[in-house]
Structure formats: C-alpha cells, structure tokens
C-alpha cells in the first residue's frame, strides 16, 4: 500500500476512534441520552468509506449502513462535529435534526440512506437501490452492512435470494461485520458456524472473508469485492471479522471489553514499517482529541429542537 494512503487510513482511524470516545464521554456527562457505535471496526470501516464512489443518484454507490458505521462516513468526509450534534440531539444534527440516536446516519448528497435501529431491514432496502442501479448501468453499486447477529433475520436471506435470481442479479456488496456477539449473546449459542460468508454458497454468490482488524487486508478485500460487483453487476458477500471494543452500547456501560484493538495493532505495524513512530502517533491522537474537545464545546452552544419541530417533515411537499 502506498505509504501516503496507509498514513491517511491511520489518521481517519484515529479521528473515528477519538470521535466515538468523545460520544461516549458526552453520553456519560449527560450531554446525550444513548450511545451506540463502532469502535473496533475502524480497520475495515475506514477503507470502506475511502473506496466508496461518493455522490448522488444511481451512478454512484448507495450505502445502507448500520449503526456502527461512523468511521465509514468520516472516511467519506463527514466532520466529527456532525456526529457529536446527533449525540447532543441538536437541531443542527444533519442526519436527523435531533430525532434519532447517535450513529443513525442519513446523507442524501452521498446516497447514505436513512439508518435505522431495526436490525437487518437495510438488507431489503438495498435491493431496491441495486435494482435501479442494475437498470441504470454504469459502475454504481449498493453497499449494505450489518452485524453477525442480524444475519439471523429473514431480511438477510431475502437479500441473498433476491440479489441472485438468474438473469436478475443485483450489484450489491453485502457486508457482515462479525464481532462474535449480539448484545450479550455469543454467536456460538445462536449460529452453527462463524463462517457466515458461506451462506452465499447455495445462492451461487461469490463471497470472501477478511481480517477486519487489518486495514491493509481489508482494503485489498474490499477492492476486489467492489471491482467484481461494479463490473460483473452481481452480488458479493464479504465477512469482516472485527472487534467490539466498548460493548454493544451505553445500555451495557460502553466500557472497554477487551479484544484485539485494530488501531494499536496498526500503529505497531506502521512503526515496524518505519512509517509512523509512537511519538508521531501520539501527536495525531492529541490533535484529534483537541479537535473534538473544541467540537464538543461548540455543539453544547447549538440550539435544540423546539416544540414546533415535532410537526415538521411528516409529509413531503414538493416545492411550488
């Protein structure tokens, strides 16, 4: 990997980790009600965001993201402060105007469709954007991600089935980020195999598995999978094994749970390669920490929704 890219990935990973930790601190300080996010998924989610064909409309990629994807949209260019705004529930929250939980993303100008708390429904809405892209042609694809526990839902099977119908194959990149646990239930209690990507086999869907704690391996796996979906206009199921460093959400305390830390592993690797010293890494962490401190102070000054905001945007009205 080009050293410049390797260092850029690292920078966004730090930005993302620091943002998630700032979100947790905000929640604990009473500046937000609930935290859910994806610290531990940066090594996979950042390359994903950097590889997206970003734009509006079916010529570009659609993203059906679950709630552990802040690193992906930050890699696309979302400012950390916008994620803090959603935690604070300000009216300036660009994703939901103070209406939805942290990490429930919506960015129309980049085809990031509404994120929801309903597990796995994103796998069926992805069918529709991919259907339009199949008709549109070009290289735009639909990317959908979710966790391992959610694959038990029927919507996951629906995505496999609909996207692989003979002659009607859809350009969908299905991603499962496998952290081995659903809230408190270990995957081994509820699934017969950790190789969830093999569920693609009976549908004839190409599939793969990658160490999602390794950003360079993730980059390569995503590049390969995306190239296939973009050119062949067929689905691909990619499993990325990742960590869940702060638990499911604030409902379980948002405290460190252990497991492999992709960021510290990556920093050790970059040090071995002579690309980044521990001191330089520490400076990057401090830069983002300071950036987020300022951003939190800014967000705390921003306006909250009012009573009147309850009743806006129930129905869309086209401009006259």
């Amino acid at each position: 990997m080009d050293p410049k890219l390797a260092l850029h990935i690292h920078d966004v990973m730090v930005q993302s980790r620091q943002t998630e930790e700032a979100l947790i601190r905000m929640m604990r300080s009473g500046h937000g009600y609930f935290w859910i996010g994806g610290p531990g998924e940066e090594a996979f989610g950042v390359p994903l965001g950097l590889l997206v064909d970003k734009g509006s409309g079916p010529a570009h990629d659609y993203l059906h993201l679950h709630y552990r994807s802040s690193c992906t949209v930050m890699a696309m260019g979302t400012a950390p402060i916008d994620l803090l705004r959603q935690m604070r529930s300000t009216i300036t929250d660009p994703f939901s105007g103070g209406r939805n939980f942290a990490g429930h993303l919506s960015i129309p100008q980049w085809n990031v469709v509404p994120g929801t708390s309903t597990i796995e429904t994103q796998y069926v809405t992805a069918l529709g954007t991919a259907w339009v892209q199949r008709r549109h042609g070009g290289t735009g694809i639909s990317i959908v991600n979710g966790g391992d526990a959610g694959t038990a839902e029927g919507d996951f099977a629906s995505c496999l089935n609909w996207s692989s119908r003979p002659g009607q194959e859809l350009p969908i990149l299905m991603i499962v980020t496998h952290n081995g646990i659903g809230i408190s239930t270990p995957a081994a209690q509820v699934q017969n195999t950790p190789a969830l990507h093999e569920r693609a086999i009976p549908f004839g869907i190409r599939h793969g598995r990658v160490d999602g704690n390794d950003p360079q391996a993730s980059w390569a796996a995503l590049q390969e999978a995306m190239a296939y979906v973009r050119t062949e206009r067929r689905p691909f199921l990619l499993q990325a094994d990742v960590s869940r460093l702060y638990g499911h959400s604030s409902s379980s305390g948002a405290r460190p749970e252990g497991g492999r830390d992709c960021l510290s592993e990556y920093e050790a690797k970059l040090a071995d390669q002579g690309l980044l010293s521990p001191q330089q890494a520490a400076q990057i962490h401090e830069r983002w920490r300071e950036h987020l401190r300022d951003a939190v102070h800014q967000v705390l000054k921003e306006p909250m929704p009012t009573k009147d905001d309850v009743f806006t945007h129930i129905f869309y009205r086209a401009p006259d």
Partner: protein, 351 residues
C-alpha cells in the same frame, strides 16, 4: 362500465406511460397471470417477485430512495402483518431524517371480507395502517374513484397505501372513467387478457387521462338531513342502497364516502353532522381500536352540541378471524340489512 380491477389496470397503464411509474411488482403481478385479481394484466412495467412481503416492501423503498416510482402489491393485506416494521420505516423516513429523504411509493393491497375468503383472505388493515404516521391511505368504493385515487397516489411524493376492497373488484361502476369506452364489451376486448395462452396477446389501451380524485377529499354520495352515514370501501355501496331504501320512506340520509382515511376530510364530515345531529360510522374492521373510533372521537369533540342522539359505530365483530361458513361471516362483518337497521334506528331515536 369498467369494474374496479379494470379501473386499477387503466390507472396503472396511465401511470407507467405518463406519470413515470418505473416498476409494478409483487407476487404474480407480472405475466403470465397479471395479478390474482387481474389488476395488472397487460402492463409493461410489471414483474414477479419472490414470495416475500418484506422483500417487496424493502424493494419498493429502495427504488423510491434511488429516484424510481414504484407501485408494489401485497397480494392480500392479510400477509402484510409480517412486514409492518418496513411499512413503519417507509412512513417515518422523511421525518426521522428531518426532511432529508422522502419516498414516493405506492403500495396496493386488497382488503376486507366478502369473497368467502376465510380467515387469511378477509382481514381489514386500516386500523393498523392508520397507526403508521407518514403514510397517506386511500380506499375507493367504485371504479371511477379507484382510477382517480390511484392516479393521485402515483402523483403523490409520499408513501401511499392504496387499499382495494376485494369484494368490489369485480363490481362495475356507474360512471365512465374519462377516456373509457362507453361499451363495456369493447373495454373487455381491449384490455382483458384471454384465458389460457396469453403469450401473443397485447392490450389495446383506451385513451385514458390524468383524471384524479384528490387525496383528502370525501364524497357526498347521497344528501340528506336526517342521519350522517360515513363509510368507505366494501360497505359503502351497501350504505348507499340502504339510504335509497329509507329515502323511499321519507327518511333522507346523507351518505359520505370517506375515500381517504389519512388525511381524512374532517370538514365535510363536520358540516354534515352539524346538519343532521345523528351519526353512523360503518366499516368492516374489527371494532376494538377501530379507525371509526378515531373518527368518532374527532367528531364528538367538534360537534358535541350538534348531536341529538348517541353516535353509533357499526363495525366487524371483535373475533380472531372471519370464518368461512356463511353464518360465521354474516355475523362477523356488517351486512346491508344491519346497516339499514342501524340507519333506521338512528333516524328515529329519541322520538
């Protein structure tokens, strides 16, 4: 005159040729069948889906998010229950994103009893559907409205649930749809697929227009000053016939076809009730937390001092299903004689 199924087909034809409908899909919606009620025969944008209601609704949402204009069908509303969270998501996407996204999509589904449909082909779903904010919800009771409401649903930039009363799908209208041939045999020859092999058949569509019935506008079907009767869908024609019987007895009842459930036409209902002081609400959904109860509450709040007698809701029995045997269905779902009796009783109550 066209029947409701033909009217729906004509509106979809207009939608796919003039209003930008990109996809009309559902189970058995495309060739060779063209819909279990024939409502999608001969159209060009139709296709068949897997037997997967959640997939159908997700597909519709995704198409709408990507700039398409989908019309999805759930073959019977009885099979929508396993997909209600997707309905909820479609309805709330505009609000939850603070106006960031909107979903221009139509979901059609046959509803109600009246075809000996037994437990899982007789459900009504309006009481549940009207609990899904962000959806507009319409239900025609005649072919012309079926056409006009579907045109409006397609033109609307929001999710619209189009409920088709299945007991009326074969019922012919008494008003021509603009552009419809006056001779119904000609219409049949032009747009009804032949039985058997249809592979060589193509329809010869009549020149239908953009005639529409505005969403949110009720229709006063009979005028009167004695009782206000509010219905929609399947039981509305029975309300009209009952009013005609009473009119011959000198009792003038005002029958209002709600046509749109969300957002409903409260001013028209209020004007009528202020005039008559007597209210009968009629529908076939089960009575507990029935949509009619919401109408009742709104009208009592606004017209309390106009009421001369307690208002009445005539609805389906609160039982787990509509049984197949006729006596079971007959006593589960209001029938024409029940409506007539209720109207007569209200007309003379308090005297």
């Amino acid at each position: 005159m066209a029947n409701l199924a033909q009217a729906i087909r004509l509106a979809l034809h207009y939608g796919e040729t003039h209003l930008g409908v990109t996809d009309i899909f559902g189970e058995d919606v495309g060739p060779p069948l063209g819909g279990v009620f024939t409502a999608t025969q001969g159209l060009t944008k139709t296709w068949n889906t897997p037997l997967d209601e959640r997939g159908i609704l997700g597909m519709a949402m995704g198409i709408a998010l990507a700039g398409g204009k989908p019309v999805a069908e759930i073959q019977f509303c009885d099979y929508m229950f396993n997909a209600l969270d997707l309905m909820k998501l479609a309805g709330n996407a505009h609000w939850t994103t603070n106006g960031g996204w909107h979903l221009p999509m139509v979901v059609m589904t046959p509803v109600g009893a009246g075809i000996h449909g037994s437990i899982y082909h007789s459900h009504s779903i309006e009481s549940i559907a009207t609990h899904l904010p962000g959806w507009k919800i319409v239900m025609p009771s005649n072919a012309k409205d079926a056409y006009g409401l579907l045109i409006s649903a397609i033109q609307d930039p929001n999710p619209v649930l189009y409920m088709a009363p299945k007991a009326l799908l074969r019922v012919k209208g008494d008003e021509l749809i603009p552009g419809e041939p006056a001779d119904e045999r000609e219409l049949h020859r032009r747009i009804d697929a032949p039985l058997g092999d249809r592979s060589g058949w193509t329809p010869n569509w009549p020149p239908v227009t953009d005639f529409s019935v505005p969403i949110g506008e009720a229709k006063v079907c009979r005028t009167g000053d004695r009782v206000t009767v509010v219905g929609y869908g399947h039981l509305l024609p029975a309300c009209v016939r009952a009013a005609d019987v009473l009119a011959q007895e000198g009792i003038a009842c005002e029958v209002i076809d709600l046509r749109t459930l969300i957002p409903f036409d409260l001013p028209t209902l209020q004007r009528s009730l202020d005039k008559t002081g007597r209210l009968l609400l009629v529908n076939e959904d089960t009575e507990v937390t029935n949509f009619g109860e919401h109408l009742l509450r709104k009208l009592v709040e606004r017209c309390f001092y106009s009421l001369q007698v307690p208002p009445v809701l005539l609805a389906g029995a609160d039982v787990p299903g509509v049984g197949l045997a006729w006596e079971l269905e007959r006593h589960s779902v209001p029938q024409e004689e029940d409506i007539l009796a209720a109207m007569r009783k209200l007309a003379t109550a308090g005297e």
